[in-house]
Amino acid sequence: MAATPDHRPARGLSSTSSMAPRSGLFAEGSAGTHEGTELLLVGRLQQWDAVWRVGRVGTGACRGSCYAPIMARKDPPSLPENTEGVRRMVAGWQAVEGLEREERRQAGPDAMAVRGALELMDLFGALHGWPPPENEARRRDSELVRSRWVRVRSFYQAHGQAAQQKNP
């Protein structure tokens, strides 16, 4: 994806698609077909101006690390000035969103999550061995609770037996 020199993503296909809502107003095929929708759309775009100011490089699996924290520019936002421009922009978002969905579908729904979990297990293994050792503080806590419970239970048992002896 190409970014403009001021780190603002180029409009159209290279827009910040992943920042766009996944449903509702921007649902596929619903972009700006009614006057009210267009008004809402522009309102939402203004709200997202801060998002526009974060430069983004790359698409697809490259998330998080690809969002460089760029200082906000002081000039006013340059939004499309007509509804046709907004429509084109939203269509661009949706197109990129579609591509990213396809990429995720090919990668498998949980591929990244599974990889992350395995990496975490490897890290634990390297540091402490797997499974990780029992947390000493938690073990002490549990023992304390157990002893309290035993104490309360024996009190009620003795109390109940005494009551039974008094009133056979």
Partner: protein, 71 residues
Amino acid sequence: MKISVATPEDLVIYKALAWRDRDRYDIEQLLTLHGDRIDLERVRTFIRELAQILDAPERVPEFERLVQKVN
């Protein structure tokens, strides 16, 4: 089919017995979410009793502080 579940009240009592950090947090959440349906007097009675059995009289004012924090 009948399924028995613990009431929020019972959970508060149980957690007042355990009284770890996470139990105090859970009590706060339970009081926040179900406060209007919890019979606080019943809970207080139990907590007074537990405090006596466990020789932990501070449990009663500590519980009251939690209640006040939530309200």
